[in-house]
């Protein structure tokens, strides 16, 4: 089994529970049965990983009743496991779904969850490894892997911006006395810097707007006008954009920035001093322009202290 973290199940379910190890063995057994992908028609996989019939293995630890076999009882849990997680990914990745279409997206999500089951107490983190998975297994998104990856990164950045940590904002007064050659600014943890080869920010917004229209239509009239729902959002054309996904006044925002501005922000995020970060933007950038950028970023509250210090002595 590929589930990282989840250790292999015992050969057979424990016949008695005497120790903590027995309890763990039983729980491993059942978890393996649950996280095993369903078949195309949402049945339990026919075989256990060692080749035995699944029904036989499940019957080792689950009792049947007068209406359901052990396998049928487990299937209630398995279906609910898969659809709970699938629904959560659907909710967090509407853009990716729009991009790939229902069938492809569903296959991607199932393959992703089979390889990377949840490792967090909250489903909020469920899509954290989706960009990595898209990179590792491009066949689920081909021939649109590049744009799919951009959308997945953008959508994960939204989750981070929604409820990520906000540190106390740095004000101009906080940094006034530190010379630029020593000043290191932190960026808010809720903020993501994305250099994207496709303008997926516009694309995701368009998909969300279309989906909202679709919901309105289906709420208003049961079998209402389908014009809104059929409207296709055009896949974006390749073009490099630099996007900062952030939060302001508790709302999500995406801000396109100039390539030079993006380089400054990336250098700051990497821990460079202010002087070196500005230098990273290259010679073509006017000082007034840089001052203007910093004034905006300060106003948006993007800067915070870096891990407990203002100036770098490292």
């Amino acid at each position: 089994m590929k589930a990282p973290g989840l250790r292999p199940p015992p050969k057979h379910a424990p016949k008695k529970l005497r120790t903590e190890a027995d309890l763990r063995a039983l729980q491993r057994m059942m978890t393996h049965a649950l996280v095993q992908p369903l078949t195309a028609d949402d049945e339990l996989a026919p075989r256990w990983h060692d080749g035995r019939p699944m029904a036989e293995v499940v019957a080792e630890f689950i009792k049947p009743n007068d209406r359901l076999t052990a396998g049928e009882r487990l299937k209630i849990y398995s279906i609910s496991y898969w659809y709970r997680l699938i629904d959560a990914v659907y909710e967090d990745a509407p853009g990716l779904r729009g991009l790939l279409g229902e069938k492809k997206f569903s296959a991607l999500v199932r393959a992703y969850l089979a390889k990377y089951p949840s490792r967090s107490f909250t489903m909020r983190n469920l899509c954290a490894r989706l960009p990595q998975f898209i990179r590792e297994e491009p066949r689920w998104t081909a021939p649109h892997t590049g744009v799919a990856l951009a959308v997945a990164r953008f959508e994960w950045a939204q989750t981070v911006a929604f409820d990520g940590e906000a540190r106390p904002v740095l004000t101009p007064d906080d940094v006034a006395d530190v010379p630029p050659a020593r000043l290191r600014l932190g960026l808010q943890p809720y903020l993501s810097l994305l250099a994207l080869d496709w303008p997926v920010d516009d694309y995701v917004i368009a998909v969300k707007e279309r989906d909202a229209l679709r919901n309105d239509a289906s709420n208003a009239i049961d079998r209402g006008p389908r014009a809104a729902s059929r409207k296709k959002v055009r896949r974006p054309r390749r073009r490099r954009v630099f996007v900062v996904v952030h939060r302001y006044d508790l709302r999500l925002f995406y801000k396109r920035v100039d390539p030079a501005a993006f380089q400054i922000l990336e250098a700051l995020a990497a821990g460079r001093t202010l002087a070196r970060a500005v230098a990273a933007a290259g010679r073509g950038v006017q000082p007034e322009q840089v001052r203007e950028w910093f004034a905006t970023w300060m106003e948006l509250g993007w800067f915070c202290k870096r891990a407990g210090r203002l100036s770098g002595r490292s």
Binding site: V35, S120, F121
Partner: protein, 291 residues
């Protein structure tokens, strides 16, 4: 009995679960609600809107925390980072007590996000009770454990579910969040008498009660929380409060959530049974025993 050490000697009435679709209504209209139950995990975040909304709710209402991921019955040890987050939230909400489920749902750090049934064995009861004590000592707040609804039973079980629940709460010396809908659902799925269940748990440990709706399928009942409470569940509720005394009661409605008023109205139906239970309890205490 209603106010006891498992609910921090509070005397809360009828509450409802705080859910996202109702935020705007609650914050704007400020309806009278005795208390809200929050899902702890929804607010165990580092920042942003969820905590902002919670702080506004806390200014106006009494809030009790209900968790879905502590997994007292899991063989995994409690995660310290998780507990630290939870404790920060406990300090923020000042929840008088905290509830989570008598179940498991993760192993080796892999999470199913489900409330999976326990094997009802003495060794599992002992382990689970130790974990409850550990969590309570860390969080410094009384704990009530909730019985879950279930669809499967294990061969290794050595006792009934209510015997297991009793064994755990006695060993842990903690309270019970008695979910009468879950009892009813499981009684149908496993062919037992729901009244035997209610009669089988220590009544003085019940610190809170849940009611909810469920859905019937051909061969089993699913605990869907997307309906009004069904009659047999209200009857079981009446029986539970006649036995334990009237205690903090909460309606869970988690799916296909109707308007705030509809949910609240459904919750307040509990009053129809509370009056009767109070009268019966009063009569039992006030009237001289017949010889």
């Amino acid at each position: 009995m209603p106010a006891n050490r498992f609910n921090a000697f509070t005397d809360y009435g009828i509450g409802i679960g705080l859910r996202v679709p109702h935020y705007a209504h609650i914050l704007e209209k400020k309806p009278v609600v005795d208390w809200f139950e929050i899902i702890s995990e929804n607010f165990m975040v580092d920042g942003g809107r969820p905590l902002h909304v919670l702080d506004q709710i806390l200014e106006q209402y009494r809030v009790v925390q209900h968790g879905v991921s502590m997994y007292f019955g899991s063989a995994d040890k409690p995660d310290r980072a998780h507990l630290r987050k939870l404790k920060a939230l406990v300090r923020r909400t000042k929840t008088p007590w905290l509830s989570d489920h008598l179940c498991w749902g993760s192993v080796d750090g892999t999470f199913t996000h489900d409330l999976l049934p326990m094997p009802y064995t003495f060794s599992a009861a002992k382990r689970t009770a130790e974990k409850i004590r550990y969590v309570r000592d860390y969080l410094e707040v009384p704990i009530c454990v909730e019985n879950v609804s279930s669809y499967a039973e294990f061969h290794v079980s050595e006792m009934t579910e209510w015997e297991f629940l009793s064994e755990v709460v006695e060993r842990a010396d903690c309270g019970i969040l008695l979910d009468v809908n879950n009892i009813y659902v499981s009684s149908k799925n496993h062919n037992f008498d729901p009244y035997a269940y209610v009669n089988g748990v220590p009544p003085d440990r019940v610190g809170q009660i849940h009611v909810a709706g469920h859905t019937k399928f051909e061969k089993y009942i699913l605990d869907t929380h997307d309906h009004p409470v069904l009659d047999p569940v209200w009857k079981l509720y009446a029986h539970a409060i006649a036995r334990s005394g009237v205690t903090a009661t909460l309606l869970e409605w988690d799916d296909r959530i109707p308007s705030f008023n509809e949910v609240h109205h459904e919750a307040l139906k509990a009053n129809e049974f509370i009056g009767g239970a109070r009268a019966a309890n009063f009569a039992r205490r006030a009237l001289p025993k017949k010889r």
